[in-house]
Symmetry: C2
Subunit: 255 residues, 2 copies
Amino acid sequence: MHFTTETSSNGVIERSFTLGDVTGVLWSPASLPGRAPLVLMGHGGGLHKRAQGLVARAHHLVTTCGYIVAAIDAPGHGDRPRSAADNQSVSALLEARAAGGPIGRIVADYNASLAERAVPEWQAALDALQELPEIGPDGPVGYTGMTLASAIGLPLMAVEPRITAAVVGGVLVYDSLLEAAARITIPIQFLLPWDDEEIDRASGLALFDTFASTEKTLHANPGGHHQVPWFEAEDSVAFFARHFDARTRAVALGR
Amino acid sequence: MHFTTETSSNGVIERSFTLGDVTGVLWSPASLPGRAPLVLMGHGGGLHKRAQGLVARAHHLVTTCGYIVAAIDAPGHGDRPRSAADNQSVSALLEARAAGGPIGRIVADYNASLAERAVPEWQAALDALQELPEIGPDGPVGYTGMTLASAIGLPLMAVEPRITAAVVGGVLVYDSLLEAAARITIPIQFLLPWDDEEIDRASGLALFDTFASTEKTLHANPGGHHQVPWFEAEDSVAFFARHFDARTRAVALGR
């Protein structure tokens, strides 16, 4: 993991990094007494690690909780080149959208392909992040992000036991995603845009139903695919704090 | 409104009151610099104004936010006598339950009858409460409570503009309740027990869909009819604080 740039504003230090071909960014509190919990934050389809909403939520987590937040570009997103197959998928998607045709199959295949590549990248990033002294190998790790970030996050959580709580949702549902959800047992906060024009409401409810987690909460709000009210970002903070603080206390007590 | 008893514990003053035939209780902060927002709290079917969970949530609202919480017994509940018709409803309900038969129609009719009487009682209670110097006529007012409390709360909110935010849910759905929901436009947090053995999941989703509110959030959690995780009580506090603080700021600014 190579840090390339560092800036600081409003009590938040922002560091860009590369890890092999992967480009990422790390936000952490300017003042950090010891180790802090880590939240992995994914971006939506077509966006990147510094998307406006992502940066706002990252800053909020850092400034209200003192957590550290990491984001990486998905393959073919942000600072990373698209493969020929990625270009074909994006072209097919844009053409179908312009023609008003169905896009579900195209998005499902593209998301699944991106997830297949992104899961080991997140795992390698987590390996490297846990070597940083301010994070360490034993601290709590969360994951958050909707749409493409959930298409990547669900298969990631299905195989990655270091992630112990997650906020996901607003994602197109297909079979391999349901299979991943059925293997997930950690606490989940699942955000469902109630009037999503791209994703069938019943399929979102079915995905929530599929998580094997004992603790899972569905949060549905009126609005379309990209409309999540800001108070859900605040609620995510409370969700992570509830689980991370319990975990931190348990670790401190040697349990 | 006549106060009958007053006790104090852990920074919370608890006062019993009567208002005509209605018996109630008021919890308020031991130290109150000025006026405080008011939350009206209903109890579930067969319970009363001092049900264990209700008292815990009332104390939580008082101690974390400094709000004032009022609860009244529904007709035929707690310290209030049942009418002959109420006794018939309760007997029919118990017999149907014991026989394993359907109870939906009985509960719907009984709830609707209780609501018809309870709505003007809550309005009279609110009139009296707003005459107290620590509450006043202009402060924010919330409503919270599930099952029977929602069967009463929805028709109450449909006719009572002083209530500006509410947390409800877990309620048997029937036509007049849907009609009330369709007239409600205030912010709603709607709690849905995901595995309710008594209430069909689809009917709960339909009720959420029916609220005319621009801001409404569905919170679904695994568990049966009476199983709402405690963190939802904490989340309700955040919900009320978000709306009441905005309202309080607006009033302070003369808006």
